[in-house]
Symmetry: C2
Subunit: 385 residues, 2 copies
Amino acid sequence: MKFTLQKVCPKTGARAGLLETEHGVIETPVFMPVATKGSVRGIPWETIKELGAQIVLANTYHLHIRPGDKLIQKAGGLHKWSNWSGPFLTDSGGFQVFSFARRGKAKIMDSGVTFKDDLEGKMHFMGPKESMEIQKNLGSDIVMAFDHCPPADATREGIDYSVNLTTEWTKQCMDYELQSHQSLFPIVQGGRFEDLRHKSLKELVKLDAPGYALGGVSVGESREEVDRIVQTMANELPSNKPRYLMGVGTPRDLLMSVTSGMDMFDCILPTRLSRHGSFFRKNPEGWKTESVTQKEFTEDFNNPIMKNCQCPTCSQFSRAYIKHLFKRSEITVYYYIAVHNLYTLINLTKNMRKAILEDRFVEFIKSNGILGESSTEKEYNLVNT
Amino acid sequence: MKFTLQKVCPKTGARAGLLETEHGVIETPVFMPVATKGSVRGIPWETIKELGAQIVLANTYHLHIRPGDKLIQKAGGLHKWSNWSGPFLTDSGGFQVFSFARRGKAKIMDSGVTFKDDLEGKMHFMGPKESMEIQKNLGSDIVMAFDHCPPADATREGIDYSVNLTTEWTKQCMDYELQSHQSLFPIVQGGRFEDLRHKSLKELVKLDAPGYALGGVSVGESREEVDRIVQTMANELPSNKPRYLMGVGTPRDLLMSVTSGMDMFDCILPTRLSRHGSFFRKNPEGWKTESVTQKEFTEDFNNPIMKNCQCPTCSQFSRAYIKHLFKRSEITVYYYIAVHNLYTLINLTKNMRKAILEDRFVEFIKSNGILGESSTEKEYNLVNT
């Protein structure tokens, strides 16, 4: 894997880059749709391709339990099995495994985690070695290190323990021999404590991995805390390597995080929101999440759910039609809304990239609702500290 | 609307024709996907178009209740409202309304039916005039006459009553002034009684409508009864007008019905079956409905659900992948399977048409599992009686 930093916005630190993998070149910043069980929920692969997705994420835990990573290995790996020929990133399974712990269904040891799965209630053990073995079998292009994910409200002591264990586990992951096309990304932990974040980052950067991720930023913290962590940590990450912000986000979050210097993002929101009839919408005061059930949509036959949006849904259908389908639980509407949401995030990152390359990034984000006049550039100043 | 009979298979009576509507020319035989509430369940319109659908069906009852035919009229009619620019056929609402009667939730009078709707429990009245008014508001290209649908097990007396009422109501429908682009099709009733079917047909044919439908053939009868009705009645219908067999069917049913001389078909099976993991599959002994959960699919990475199928799903995905998605309730799989099922029916009618036009229809249906060696041509002889 090779990362080339093409341009950095001198005012904000926002970056445009190229990440070359065996399954394709990824232009950053990039939003990665989530195919938890090997399919982006409700969206056919053809559509994922048409929307311009460059890389998708799949979940190690889910695929390990069913159909099993060994079955996927037999099929020739994730790419052949799913017929998505572009790059795949797999998470480490840690996030799911630790969510079991929070529900009292797992036991955490220094060597890994013992847990009962949701489906069959079988006992499993997952540690750094197991996570690497599964991801090797899956054959993803980017492999995430097995990290210790503390809850957002963990004590300082708990988070310090998690940082230390993450470093130790990451070392074990780095020692594991993956397939030649696979690259390992460590995950910086440290919760809401700036000094622990720095400690985690410092220890992981020593390992000289091909890319780095910020973890534990969408596990229950406030938006302000996430902003603060991202703004503080992004530019501490090696500048010559891709920087991945896990589990983010919304258009607003992507604008803020690219501005802070992050390159890669994933989130299930575009598809999950669609099942609740919610869509991303740009308003004069910035991006919001709104409902297709709003009263004004009932008889609006002439406007799409978001005016001036060029996505396939907004190019074809009126507010009245989309609202009707949602109210009648017609499953096609989950597709239509998710397509709008995915298009929004994919297109937003593409447009940010273009603006960075063309030296007009600050103008771009001003016109997109952060760093605007009304925000008195407070957020912008924060970015630059 | 103009119907041109292009060719008739001299051995079977199977027909190829052209049906010209204001929203497009339909090549028959034709399978019409069902968009009950204004959307084919789970299948985006782009896909419906790509699959080669030429006309879709929408349901008068469902759209009348929600969002209301008056709202759709305000939107400019079904085509503008849904953004499907091809032809629409709407059913009369009769089928749904009479299913309420069977559940004791409706009162049938000589003038129509009083019923309580499912959604809000409001009282409604629907008779021939109301059905016409709703369908006029919807603006469909083909409008179905409001018929009296008896249950499959009705007595001879009950079915005779239903035939008489259907004739009376159809006359009232014919007198109603629809939009200029709309054409009314009467529906032949008569249940399983041949003489009552003939009586119904004879009275309706007198009205000189632009096309005719056989109704009450998928309301609970045995396959043999449906075959017998279709084989007996098809060629009694005017040969210079399109013949529509309502609610049919499977690949086998389409083969049999086209062979009998029918031209148009609709069915919810392709999408409904997909939600149960069932797909149409051609076997040496004919077409069957099978499950994607079958044991041999678990590790079959090299074959699609149906070998030699050129549909988008079979061109892209293995049995193992499709089975996994279904077992994990990944909603994308309902799309993938429905696409295979819709493609199968649409493509089968296209191929039958081609075979009719090229004077090789008997060979075509022999190789497609009816009229085969094994069936001792019994079915074929029956067709020719």
